[in-house]
Structures are given as C-alpha cells and as structure tokens.
C-alpha cells in the first residue's frame, strides 16, 4: 500500500518565543520536525514494511522546512514533497489543507496519515478538512490500529475511553502519540536520505493561486493574560506536606 504522511516543521517546543506583528518569529527559532508527526511516519513505515508499497512525505512551510522532510526520509520514507511559496505566509487551517490536498493528489495513495494536531497550533482540524477535500473517510485520534485487507480497524480515543471504528481505504488517519514508539534515524538512514528524491513546489506548480490559500482569519490583538497572584514557592525541608495540608484546610476541602 502507498502511504502519504503529512509533516510540519515547528519551532522547538522546548524554547521560549515571542510574537512580532501577531506572528511567531519563526526565523530566529530553532526548528524541528513536530514530535507528534514522528508517530505518523513510524505508523506509515510499519504498514509499508508489512505489506509493501512506499511512504511519501508531504509538508508545507518555508524552504527550511525541507529539514523536517529529510528527517522523515532518514527514518525510512521513500520520497518527499515540500510546498513553499511566499503567498503562504500566515496560511490558516483551510489554506493549509487545500495546499496539502493538492500535493497529496500528485501520487496515488491508499492512506494519508497526520498527527492529531500540531504541537505549535493545536487546532487539529486540518486532517478532517483534508479528508473532505480528498473525498475519503477519516479515522481519527487513533491509539491502536490493525489493517484487515482494505479496511482499517482502529481504536479511536474518546474522553471516556475509546471507540472501535472500522474504516475502508482510502482514508485519512490521525495518530496519537501513544500509537507506537518512533524509530531513531540510523546513520545509514541519514546518509541515504540525502539522495532520496524530493520536490519543492510552488502554489503555481500545484495549479493553485494565492487566492486559494488566502487566510480567512487574522490576529487583531495580543495581550498578556490576566496574571494569577504570585504564589508561595518553597523548597521542601520536610515541612512541605504540612504546608499543603494547611492550604487544603484553608480551602475547606479537608
């Protein structure tokens, strides 16, 4: 089966950032492949290792986002596509989904895999938009999967536990961070990734124009959140438990 994985390069979530004119200052930020996407890459690799076919990685972002594509290739994906275009700066979820769908359609696919949500934006609606634009069903929030012929059988996370869902291929699937243990790229994998085929495409290459990717929302204001009163932070010298008990008593919960 052929699997396409959507990945995103994001600012390293372990750093501190600032907003300039309502946008994250991405150029100064150290960027990484979204850790949540590694689970999707791993899922795709496992599926193709078991049943043949190849893994294509698709991304949208500035030219340097090719690093994230290469990272996925070094894990074992076969080829990559990066859509990069000045007109995409500030793209929102629907613009992103429109571009990704156009890029995905360039190759035959049985399954498209995404993370549940990006670790920087957290909106989590691009995958269902993609499913709609590609005209396929969606198997979302997957924490366990089995493939039975042309049907996925998944465990879909819910707030109360999980649902068992069956979904015919082709489909869009989103995987949670609990679905597997992503492999580290080997030295050999990193070397091989350098010569794997990658395409860098503009909107025009996809038959799209700036209007197709126009953002429909904009930042109107950025303000500090109302601060909570400064708390009392103390090193535990053996009296920590008693301090907490006093606090619970004062809050009238014991």
């Amino acid at each position: 089966m052929n699997v396409t994985v959507c990945v995103k390069q994001i600012p390293d979530p372990n750093q501190n950032y600032e907003l300039v004119d309502g946008r994250l200052k991405r150029d100064v930020a150290q960027s990484v492949l979204d850790p949540g996407d590694e689970f999707g890459v791993e899922t795709a690799l496992k599926l193709t290792e078991a049943s043949g076919g190849e893994v294509t990685v698709v991304s949208m972002g500035p030219a340097k986002a090719m690093e994230a594509v290469r990272r996925a290739l070094s894990m074992g994906a076969a080829k990559g596509i990066l859509v990069t275009d000045d007109a995409l700066a500030g793209a929102d979820a629907l613009a992103t989904a429109t571009v990704l769908a156009a890029a995905i359609k360039r190759n035959p696919f049985d399954l498209v895999i995404c993370g549940v949500e990006s670790t920087d934006g957290y909106t989590g609606v691009v995958p269902s938009m993609l499913a709609e634009l590609l005209g396929v069903p969606q198997a979302t929030f997957v924490k366990h999967l089995e493939l039975d012929g042309d049907t996925l059988k998944i465990q879909r996370q819910t707030t109360r536990g999980y649902d068992v869902v069956t979904c015919p291929l082709p489909a869009v699937m989103t995987v949670t961070a609990g679905v597997n243990e992503p492999r580290y790229p080997t030295f050999k994998g990193i070397m091989q990734a350098k010569s794997k085929p990658v395409e860098e495409l503009s909107l025009g290459d996809l038959g799209l124009s700036g209007d197709d990717a126009k953002a429909t929302q904009s930042v109107a204001g950025v303000n500090p959140a109302p601060a909570r009163g400064a708390g009392e932070i103390v090193a535990d010298d053996g009296s920590g438990a008693a301090k907490i008990a006093d606090f619970l008593k004062e809050a009238k919960v014991i």
Partner: protein
C-alpha cells in the same frame, strides 16, 4: 443582527454535554438570534435544556446515523442546514467529534475555523491563549459565513435564561458515501470515585512520578482527601501508565476544581490549558524552574515520592 448557531453535542448515552449550555449562555450575551443543532439519539430531549439556556429554535434529528459514523453524516446535514438558514457564526465545543465535523464542514463552505477558543469578545472575534496561557490573542474571523469557532469546555458558566425552544425536525438524508468510518463498539474506562469534570479536588500526576506504580500514591492521597479524583498528563497517558479517560489538557479533559494538585508535572502548554482555570493550584516538582510553578498558589520544590505519602498521612491525621 447576527444569527448564531450552537452545535449541541450528545454523549454516548444520548445525554446533552454540559459544555453546549455553557456555549449557549455566551452566545446569548453576544446579541442576535441564537439557535442550536442537535443530531443523534437524545436530540429531541436535548431541546428542553437548550431552550432553557437561550436557543429559540433547535434543529433536531434522532437518527442513529450520526453516532454510528464518524464526522461525515453530521457535516453533510449541517452543510444543508447552513445553506438553508445562513447562520453567521457556528460554535462547536472543542471535542474529538466536533473537530472532525467542523473541519469537514469548513472544507465544504470555505469557512474559517478557530480552535481552542477561550472567549468571544464579539460575534466576529475569537480569543485564544498561547504560550502556556500567558498570552491572550484576539483573532478576527473573516471569509464566508458561517464563521466557525471551537470553544474550550468550561470557558463560560452555564446559566439558564428560562426560555423554551421550538423544535424543528431535520431529515437524516445522508448519502451512502458519507457512511464510511463506522463506530462498532464503545469502550468506557471511567474510574471509580468522583468524575474528573465534577470533583472539587483533583490530584494529578505526570512524568515526575517516574513509574506507573507510583500513581497508587496519588490514589491513596485522593482517598484520604475524599471527594477527589485522579488525573494525568498526556505524556503519561501516551506512555500507557494510566487510561486515556484520566487525561487532562488540550487533548483530554478541561477541569476547574477548587484545588488542583499538580504532582511531578512540568507544565507543558498541552496540560496547562486543561487546568489553568482551577480556583487554586498546588504544585510539587523537583525542578524549581518548572513552568507549573508560575501558575501555582503554593509550590513545593521537592521529591513528590516523599512529599505525597507524607501528605496522605498528614491529611488522615488532621481528619482524625
């Protein structure tokens, strides 16, 4: 005047999720016409409380197709409804099912979608919080109607207005190609004791507990306090230490207890957005630089594995 719609989510037992009433309460305050849509078994019964919280009309359909299949049937029927009735703003709860439906609908209508919304300053602006809740961003919603916003649970308090709604029955004309991803079984992993969303005290654990077996210490503490529930971060849930039903955060539950004890939790944004509205926050963490301490009313820099058992004893002795 704007026409505002609220998508009312029904749970697996056909009960109305309370977050729908919270959203209705806010929608009412924005002025204009407020209506609701409820799809699936329990929809007709939901019209009662939806009306009491400000919906003047409830578009309802009892058909099980909406719960049997993921996302597509609801997006299909909603698309027909919004084309016919032309709401300006459509509000969903920020839940698993609603994300699937809203994304699909937006791709059909070309609407903007704003996720993780914590407030609505007016009917064309949505507010969200970034950088672990330290920064508030106002986002102007443009493009074709309906603008779509997904609202975080517990962002608003639900208050009845004493009204009642007219129920309009909607036909479940869902094509076969929208009946694909089929829900065949629901597994509920609810814990014993009070529910996380309702417990006045939550004892929550993260990676700092070092080993899944140490969650027992949190259960003992919760037991000693009484009327307390145990929660967890995404990191330990993903690692398989505890069930998904215990997850608090962006993906997971949003809670607002009187007291939240964050134990061995560093304070990743993913977790903080699910608990930062708690009345009081206590943090225990070895790392004095952990971001959770910036939220804490009381922070103990120390070894959770020592402090928690001592606290359990202390609580027991004080309660006599």
């Amino acid at each position: 005047m704007a026409k505002i719609w609220v998508y009312a989510e029904l749970d697996s037992h056909g009960n109305l999720e309370k977050t729908s009433l919270e959203i209705l309460t806010k929608a009412r305050s924005l002025g204009g016409t407020v209506e609701a849509v409820a799809l699936g078994p329990g929809a007709n019964a939901a019209a009662g409380p939806l009306g009491e919280h400000g919906a003047t009309t409830v578009y309802a359909c009892e058909d099980a197709v909406f719960t049997d299949f993921i996302g597509q049937p609801a997006a299909h029927v909603l698309h027909n409804l919004v084309q016919e009735h032309k709401p300006n703003l459509l509000l969903f709860p920020f839940t698993y099912d609603a994300r699937d439906i809203a994304g699909r609908l937006a791709a059909k209508t070309g609407s903007t979608v704003m996720g993780s919304v914590t407030d609505l300053p007016n009917d064309t602006t949505a507010q969200t919080q970034i950088f672990g809740g330290s920064t508030v961003v106002d986002v102007s919603l443009d493009g074709p109607d309906p603008k779509i916003a997904l609202i975080r649970p517990k962002a608003f308090d639900a208050e009845p207005s004493g009204g009642s709604a007219t129920t309009v029955t909607v036909a479940a004309d869902v094509p076969d190609d929208a009946k694909m991803a089929k829900r065949v079984e629901r597994i509920e992993e609810e814990q014993s004791g009070p529910k996380l969303e309702e417990a006045p005290v939550i004892v929550s654990g993260g990676r700092g507990l070092q080993d899944p077996s140490n969650f027992k210490l949190l259960e003992e503490l919760a037991g000693a306090i009484g009327n307390a529930a145990v929660g967890a971060t995404r990191a330990v849930v993903d690692a398989g230490w505890v069930p998904y039903a215990m997850q608090i955060g962006q993906t997971g539950k949003t809670v607002k207890p009187k007291v939240y004890l964050a134990i061995g939790i560093s304070g990743a944004t993913q977790h903080i957005v699910g608990m930062k509205s708690s009345d009081r926050i206590i943090a225990i963490n070895k790392d004095p630089e952990a971001p959770i301490f910036q939220l804490a009313d009381l922070g103990i820099v120390g070894d959770a594995l020592k402090v928690v058992p001592a606290l359990t004893q202390e609580v027991k002795s004080r309660k006599g």
